[in-house]
């Protein structure tokens, strides 16, 4: 059995109840008021949605009828999530986000990507787009560009047409 201390909210009002959540080996769950020991809720099976681990932020256990249990006890929430909810891809994300080694690899990859993008990516993309565009669009774009240049930058030539 695993017990986790936290706060219980019924989802209908903002009333806060200090509570303890008990997780039994067969998947049953009970929530008790930690002050008077009264049982608040019980489930025969583990039908709780556990919020994914994200650094050391508050964790939430969402019950099927809208109730919520809130706790800071991340290690125990991880234990019950692993045991009853199985492995999730967000656990892998947490591993990535919590280790400096992965963070530094991500940083190196990002810098590499930025450098590669500027050095090779932009010319390749420009060339690919230019070759795939239909001639009519290129023609229209050229006309528009010349029109804008005529209006804004260029002026009539001083040279005689024959020279």
């Amino acid at each position: 059995m695993i017990s986790i201390r936290g706060k219980f909210y019924d989802g209908r009002t903002s009333a806060e109840v200090p509570a303890v959540c008990f997780f039994y080996d067969n998947g049953a769950v009970t929530v008790e008021n930690s002050v008077d020991g009264c049982r608040i809720l019980s489930l025969s099976r583990f039908t709780i949605k556990v919020s994914p681990r994200l650094a050391d932020t508050t964790r939430y256990l969402h019950f099927p009828n809208g109730e919520k249990f809130e706790t800071q006890d991340n290690p125990n929430v991880d234990r019950i999530a692993k045991r009853f909810a199985g492995a999730r891809w967000t656990d892998w994300l947490h591993q990535l986000e919590s280790r400096w080694r992965f963070a530094l690899i991500a940083l190196a990859a990002m810098l590499l990507f930025v450098w590669g993008g500027i050095t090779y990516g932009v010319p390749i993309a420009a060339s690919g787009i230019a070759h795939r565009l239909p001639p009519s669009i290129l023609h229209a774009a050229g006309e528009h560009t010349l029109g804008i240049l005529d209006k804004s930058v260029l002026r009539k030539s001083d040279f005689d047409l024959l020279t």
Binding site: K7, Y9, D10, G11, R12, T13, S14, A15, E16, S51, L54, A55, D56, T57, T58, Y60, G66, E67, K68, E70, L93, L96, E97, S98, R99, W100, F102, A103, A106, L107, A109, M110, F113, I137, A140, A141, H144
Partner: protein, 452 residues
């Protein structure tokens, strides 16, 4: 000489009730017209029934409290006969519609002044006031790693992961903030965000491609986008509020597109037409629209600031602005090499001044039922934070950004408190409507600043 009573509405809706519900009940239970019910609810303080006997006043007071109106009874003396009891409990014996009269409270004051014995009958003790500081437990180191992983996974998945990145970033910020030990929670579904992003992205690509190739079509797109701004604002605010929760009660936003159009399109146009004279008023209307349409459960927030407060704020900003511009002009004239740093320093100072003053005013004049907020940001401290954050971010080519964000949030939360008056346990969950994320993502893509 006999004693009479007045039933006075104090301009507040009781906790657990909202404007619309109270209005409907006033219309149904008291057979008021829609206009009259709205007039009563929007009034600051009005006498709903005057010069009645104690029993009548108590019964009417109770009936009004049941529909959500915060009423009190006031007492006076008169030589005239008071009205007999005509009201009772419950829907079948509620007061007759023609028996509710609306009198400005100023008139009541005159009456009671004459009587010289006005007293409030409400004998419930004043609720205890408790100051609860907001807490923020985020760390720059943690956020830096989350930020890096978000970027790299977004690149590797060609942008698809950006929706999950957004949720993870918001969950971290929300999850690090606490009020009286209770954490804030961000509940948005990344798949919905991804769909919203795809729609907004297609619109953006069409807009930029067509604007470049065919300026006329681009102009039409711009008009469409401008016309859609109010809808985008409402949807973005609703999506964000709907997916935010505290103590398992979600926030909400119920602003109408029509009102958003006034606040975010009509008033800005009038600001242009009046050469900026109406700018403080337009800003005030936008704040009012956002705050007063926001809810916690079924309870609406209220903004007590007036247009005059915002004019005073903008005028106070003009003094450092004029002095700063003068100083920068002098630097440009005498020390041209220092022109750019001087202009930058002026910009940062004005940014800090404006941020601090508007944040303080907005929070200090916001209420949630009887609970108030207190913001005490200081210009010098915030300016130091902005300068160090900007320098460090520039020197590290942007890598300091996560620390800058966390430092700013930590400072803001450290200067923010909730002053509770009475019980914070009685907020009631509202009806849960699903809100699409297209508006939120359009506001992200087109960088429409709603200024929350």
């Amino acid at each position: 000489m006999s004693i009479y009573y007045n039933v006075v509405y104090q301009g507040k809706i009781l906790e657990g009730f909202d404007f619309e519900a109270a209005k409907t009940k006033l219309i149904v239970n008291f057979a008021l017209s829609k206009e009259k019910a709205e007039k009563v609810l929007r009034s600051r303080r009005v006498v709903l029934k005057k010069t009645v006997d104690e029993m009548t006043a108590r019964k009417l007071g109770l009936a009004l409290k049941r529909v959500g109106l915060d009423v009190i009874l006031t007492k006076g003396r008169t030589t005239a006969a008071v009205q007999p009891a005509t009201v009772g409990f419950g829907p079948e014996t509620v007061p007759q519609p023609d028996k509710i009269s609306v009198t400005p409270a100023s008139e009541l004051t005159r009456q009671t002044d004459i009587a010289a014995s006005a007293v409030t009958v409400d004998r419930t003790p004043a609720p205890k006031t408790v100051v609860i500081p907001f807490e923020f437990h985020g760390s720059g180191r943690e956020y830096f790693k989350i930020w890096l992983v978000n970027i790299i996974l977004t690149i590797l998945t060609l942008g698809i992961y950006s929706a999950w990145a957004k949720v993870r970033h918001k969950k971290y910020i929300y999850g690090s903030a606490r009020l009286n030990g209770a954490g804030f929670e961000y509940l948005a579904d990344p798949v919905k965000i991804l769909k919203g992003r795809m729609i907004a992205g297609v619109f953006l690509v069409l807009y930029s491609t067509l604007s470049n190739l065919f300026p006329q079509i681009g102009f039409i797109f711009s008009l469409v986008l401008f016309a859609a701004v109010p809808w985008i604002v409402v949807r973005a605010l609703a999506f964000n509020a709907r997916n935010s929760a505290l103590r398992n009660i979600r926030f909400g936003f119920s602003g109408r597109v029509k009102d958003a159009a006034k606040a975010f399109a009509l008033w800005p146009i009038l600001v242009l037409l009046t050469l900026g004279i109406l700018a403080p008023y337009a800003y005030y209307r936008q704040r009012k629209f956002i705050v007063e349409n926001s809810r916690y459960g079924t309870t609406r927030f209220a903004l007590t600031a007036t247009a005059r407060d915002y004019y005073r704020l903008f005028l106070s900003a003009s003094v450092p602005f004029i002095i700063g511009v003068g100083l920068v002009a002098a630097v440009i004239f005498f020390l041209p090499l220092l022109a750019v740093p001087a202009a930058l320093a002026l910009y940062l100072y004005l940014f800090a001044f404006y941020s601090v003053k508007t944040t303080n005013l907005q929070f200090n004049s916001s209420q949630l039922a009887a609970h108030r907020f207190k913001a005490d940001l200081r210009i010098k401290e915030y300016l130091a934070l902005v300068i160090t954050n900007s320098l460090a971010t520039a020197l590290t080519l942007g890598l300091f950004y996560p620390w800058a964000k966390i430092r700013t949030l930590r400072y803001k939360f450290s200067r923010l408190s909730l002053i509770t008056s009475g019980d914070f346990d009685t907020f009631i969950a509202g009806e849960q409507k699903q809100v699409g994320s297209v508006g939120e993502e359009m506001s992200d893509f087109f960088d429409i600043d709603i200024g929350l």
